[in-house]
Symmetry: D3
Subunit: 69 residues, 6 copies
């Protein structure tokens, strides 16, 4: 009965993409650990850009300076 929490920045993730994440991670847990999909829960948190930091900076600023993530 795994529980998976996926945190990503809130940037227009679609319902279809969320469904793909849910299906993909559930299948992964079945394939690797033989976990029953019916008791695998997934929660996706979408985090506003101002609320996510990396490199000591809000992510928007971090991306400008450093990486294309």
């Amino acid at each position: 009965m795994p529980f998976v929490n996926i945190k990503v920045t809130r940037e227009g993730v679609t319902a279809e993409q969320k469904a793909q994440l849910i299906e993909g991670v559930t299948t992964l847990l079945k394939d690797v650990l033989n976990k029953n999909p019916s008791t695998t829960f997934v929660v996706i948190d979408e985090v506003d850009l101002d609320n996510w930091g990396a490199g000591g900076l809000p992510v928007t600023e971090f991306r400008k300076r450093a990486l294309n993530t």
Copy 2:
């Protein structure tokens, strides 16, 4: 000084119901572990239906096919 995080689907939970959850879980921790209510924190996360998965499906789809949760 317990910290409790309750995640539920966002489906019209009222302020009164939230207050009942907060009171109930705080009382539970006092009764079972003798924890001081004044330093028991509770955070309730309401999760959009598209963002919660079970059985490899978004919860709305999961419920249609399987359980009435």
Copy 3:
């Protein structure tokens, strides 16, 4: 399909007490929100005293100075 995470300090919580917490919070979610117990998950985290802080101090020190929690 709620998910509840209870964090408490690691101070000899027994298996019986854990079972009481699991049962109590599951019943609470059924009573308040009509959630199906069979899809309610609870995870208890026991946190070493050095790893829990309050009032800017490790909890052992905090308790000495301030509260009996």
Copy 4:
């Protein structure tokens, strides 16, 4: 590569204050544990007042009765 999650009540935290939290905690991890800022992530969760409990009460009520937090 630390990951820090800061939960505060949703009460008008500004983008500037969020940036200060991100910078401050990233610097702290560099100073104390020599962690590389470029791989330190920070996520700030702002929690509605109805969804945060303390002392067995929603935080608004808790503050009225007890502490000025």
Copy 5:
């Protein structure tokens, strides 16, 4: 820069299986959301059986009565 937390029961998950989970979920986030693997973090929590509840029961008891998860 996603952050993924996978919670599973502590039942002998091997280092190789953990590596497969890390690789799989990182690839999933690249495929679905085009996230850069180098800034995707994954944390796996292994939870003692006594500390995981489902159906109002510790998981060992829950499995006996209900599901083979």
Copy 6:
């Protein structure tokens, strides 16, 4: 009444360093948001190296190949 969770790899963090993290983040929240230290909680999770992934690899492997974190 903030709640802060700091996740770091388990690599010999001392009790003194943990105390510094607790004090530092509590002071930060007081300085930036005027939060009362007595109701600021901090929980530090130390994560085994096998259980932390970055770049699609367990962290030990990731470090060899890429960054000195």
